[in-house]
Structures are given as C-alpha cells and as structure tokens.
Symmetry: C2
Subunit: 325 residues, 2 copies
Amino acid sequence: MDNRIRVGIVGYGNLGKGVELALKQNPDFILKGIFTRRDVSSLDTDSKVIHISEILDYKDDIDVMILCGGSANDLPEQGPMLAAHFNTVDSYDNHNNIPQYFDSVNKAASKANKVSLISVGWDPGLFSLARLLFESVLPDGENYTFWGKGVSQGHSDAIRRIEGVKAAVQYTIPSEEAIERIRAGDNPKLEATERHTRVCYVVPYDMNDRDRIEKEIKSMPNYFLGYDTTVHFISEEEFIKNHTKMPHGGWVIRTGTSENNNKQRMEFSLSLESNPEFTSSVLVAFARAVNRIAQEGKKGAFTVFDIPFAYLSPRSGEELRKELL
Amino acid sequence: MDNRIRVGIVGYGNLGKGVELALKQNPDFILKGIFTRRDVSSLDTDSKVIHISEILDYKDDIDVMILCGGSANDLPEQGPMLAAHFNTVDSYDNHNNIPQYFDSVNKAASKANKVSLISVGWDPGLFSLARLLFESVLPDGENYTFWGKGVSQGHSDAIRRIEGVKAAVQYTIPSEEAIERIRAGDNPKLEATERHTRVCYVVPYDMNDRDRIEKEIKSMPNYFLGYDTTVHFISEEEFIKNHTKMPHGGWVIRTGTSENNNKQRMEFSLSLESNPEFTSSVLVAFARAVNRIAQEGKKGAFTVFDIPFAYLSPRSGEELRKELL
C-alpha cells in the first residue's frame, strides 16, 4: 500500500518551483499535481499540471494542498477558499494582517473539518518560533531580529521605478556593530535604520545619469532615507553574472539576564543561497505536520506555534528519542 | 482565584537553586516547597523546605514537580517513582540511556494518569530540537553539535583525581577552524578530537610537580589523549577569582543542499554565563507545558519533541500570533 502523503501545489512561481524541488528530497510525499491559473501547457515542468478551475475535482486525491501564491493578492482570497475544501499550508507573510487572515482561514477550515497551517516559512515561521522560545526561556531580556545579507524585493522594485534605471538589486545588510552590542548584552534601543545598511547595484541606461539616480535613491522616504545607503553602478553583464541569485538570511538574538544577574544569550540564524527554496523546504516539512494533525481529527487554523517538532519528521518518536535527543 | 501553577522542586543542588531563581521571573508559578533528603533546617533558602519522606502528602497541592536530581544516581530511581504520583519534568541527560529511562517513566506515568516530560535542558533539550528541526527542513545535509566554551565537570573531576592537584577546572573549547569548515558547507567528517580543544587551569600543591601533572593529564585515555590539550598552572587566588563560574554554551549547525544545489545553513547557539541557571530556566518554561498537557487529559512520558512552543508561554495564542509571528 502506498502510504505517501499526497500533495498538490497551487501556484508555480519561485515558491511553487521550490516546493516541487524540495519534494524530491522527501520520499514520503507524492506530488499529485501543480494547479495554475495560467495555460497548463505553458509551465516548464515534468509534473502533472492542472488548471486551477478543476481543483475541486481533486478533493479526494490530495492530503495537503501547499499554497504558493503571494500574500498581497493571492492568499487573502485563495487561503479561505481552499481551506473550505482541503487541508492547506501557506506562507502568508504580511505580519500586520496575520490575525485577520488567521480568522478568515480558521472559519473556513473549521466549518469544513479541515486543517490549515498559515504563515509557514522563516519569517514568519522559524524566526517566530525562535522569538517565542527565547522569550519563554529568558523572560528578562529583549528579542532582536536582523535580516540579511539578502535581496529585498520591495527595495529592488523601488529602485527599478526610478527613471533611467535598467536593472537594480538591493541588499539589506545587518549592522555587525549592532549585533556585537546585542551579543555583549547591552540590550540597546535600536531603530531599524541603525540595525541595517542598504547596498544597491544599479545598471543605468546612461552612465551620465548616475548622480541623479543615486540622489533619488538616497532620498526615497520609507525605503532609503535615514539608512546608511551605498550605491554601485555596474554593467548589465556584471549584473547578470553576480546579482541574479536570491540569497538571504538573518538572526534572532536574545540576551537575557538570570535572577542572579548572569547573562545568557540565545541565537538562531540562517544563511541561505536561495531564499525561495528554503521557504519551500520549510513548507514541505510543515505539510507533514498538517497531514498528521488532520489525521488526529483536528480542525481549524493553526500556526507554527501549535506544532510539536516530532510532527515535522518522517521518523518515529522512538527513533527520534534514540538518535536526536 | 489563584490560577498560578503550583510547583515543587525535588533536590537543592545547583539546578534546584536555579529553578528557585527562575520561578521569580515567572509570576504565573508559585513554589509550594523544596523537597530534600537533607536535614530541612540545613538549606539556606527562604522557600518552604520539606523532607522528601513527606512528599506524598503533597499530591493534591502540586501541579508539576520539577526534578532537579542528577542523572547518574537520582533520576533513574526518582523519575519513575515520582511519575507514579505527580506530573513531572526533569533534565535526565544520559543520552545513551534515554530510551530505557523514557520507558520506565512512561509506564509509571501512564498507569497513574500523569504527565512526565523527560530530558529537558539544552542538550538534551533545545539542541535536540534544533537537530530535529534542521534535519526535517534540510534532509540533504549533516548536523554538527559543538559544546563550549564551557566547564566540563567530568574532565575537571578527572584532573582533580591526579596526585598533587589541589584544584582544577577544564574548559572544552570548540575549534573555530572546524566551525568555519562546516559553515563553508564542506560537510567534513570530524572526530570529537578535531572538533574541540581542551584547556586546563590547575592549582598544584607543589609547583615542582608541574611536569608530571601535565604529562598525566595529557596521557589520560578517553578524557585528554588525542585532544589538543593546554595546561596552565595558576595560584589558588587566581583560581578563585577567575575560574569558579560555570559558563557554557555551544552550537548546532547544519549546512544542507537544496535539490538545485544551493547551500542553506541553519544555526542555533547558546552563550551562557551560568549553565545550571540556564537549564533551570528551560525546565521552568517546559513545566508550563506539562501543566497544560496534563489539563488536556494526556498521560505518559513525553519529550521536548512533543511540545508545541505555544505551550511554553504564559501568553494566549491570539497574543502570540499578533506579536511574535
């Protein structure tokens, strides 16, 4: 009998492609299909591709649907809609709107006796778990989250909207100095502008526009104004050669003080050559947990905070206790 | 109505004292008593002290008993015995014997409809959680655990047994070079002797014995032979001034490779001025989880792998989603 967990992928951007790849490293899963809004013949993949309009025909063939749409436009609609028919996992990452999103998915999933795990990835996701663990163990202290070195899609887009810019990428870089102060246990108050610097690589149409472009970047409110920002102008060749990957990473750090005044530091960090492929790997591990809690008869919306780590692994509790504890 | 979690501490060594301190930072707990085998008047504490022979009189007054005895002699006996009457949490840390210990505690707790959470601390404990998370997210990779810089009680004791040694402490120090190789994604095969170096501070009765003592240390099988070992001879004053704290720490590192050949690195690390106080802080956070799963009607033995992180926090799920996710 085939006991593999039957999954579907909804959406075939960077994240959906990453999930397709990650599933190959996890033989306890079987990919039943990729659901897309696009013309099914346009997807470059060996997996089965199904138009999203037919998704409800697969209600009995999928244990967990992995939602790989974006948080701005896709998930607010798709999340609750699909939670009414499938167990789901998604990477909804609009921090401010998580409570509302949780409520709408929870309502749909509860009514349908399904399980939906929302906001899975690394932030929100693994970094959230670190923040929760750290403050629970060391109540007297402060959490700090740093992102980078990594590409910020939003900042890169903002530069590309400036006139005369052909291509651009922006790296967010955590301040080493700020990290060292926190490690020393100072518990400093630090603005976002003090925690990160910004480095931009820009391909201009005309090298004569460099001064104007640099000025426009550095004076852009919310995005760059107030930040230590460096702008490098480079050729298109160099851009393609060195700046088309999607690395990212970051730290969660807490220095706490014991009642006896001893300093205790906890750190969790990631260094990723591919940001979307890592988020995908996290989604797949948590899809395993979704299948398990659904089998236990639970229903409604859940977050990473509700999942015991044993549920992330294909190994038995006995094996985990023997080999990893 | 007083909703605080009522706890008892069994054993008043470094760990029991640490738990007493940690509880002061967690106002949702109330310490009902410290249980000891010693003369109750001999304990230097403001808390209520009760002789362990009376412990069963407190069956209805304690929600969770925090077991602070040692793994060599105390817990193998106390663990199952107390699991038959109380919900318990302990820091049993003899990795090889965890499966047997789990079975004996599980039998007692299941029969009594109680919950026992075993092997809570940082290794086993938080490091085990990191190992499990890391391998679940990045199946194609390797886990590495490093301990230190920190005092190894076992190695310090071994030195103190050498003739002519008045006082001694041994620090286990992780090899920076090994850590950098792993971070680079080499997935090297490394023996324990290559991952750690050992630095000893020794107070001899007679400075003329230095050569012999150093030779005896460096040739001690299992403990020092094969390791890069440095021995410093110091005065008793310096020893008392600089070497009586119990710092520790370490890393769990995994570099994995995505199916697309991108390197992804995850790290969890601790840097602790007081090792026993940190283990105590972890025990208290997990005692909260024990109380909660006991209230849910669960029974038997559990490990950190079975605990959702939400259960470690006094905050509501709603608050956690809003503020930490």
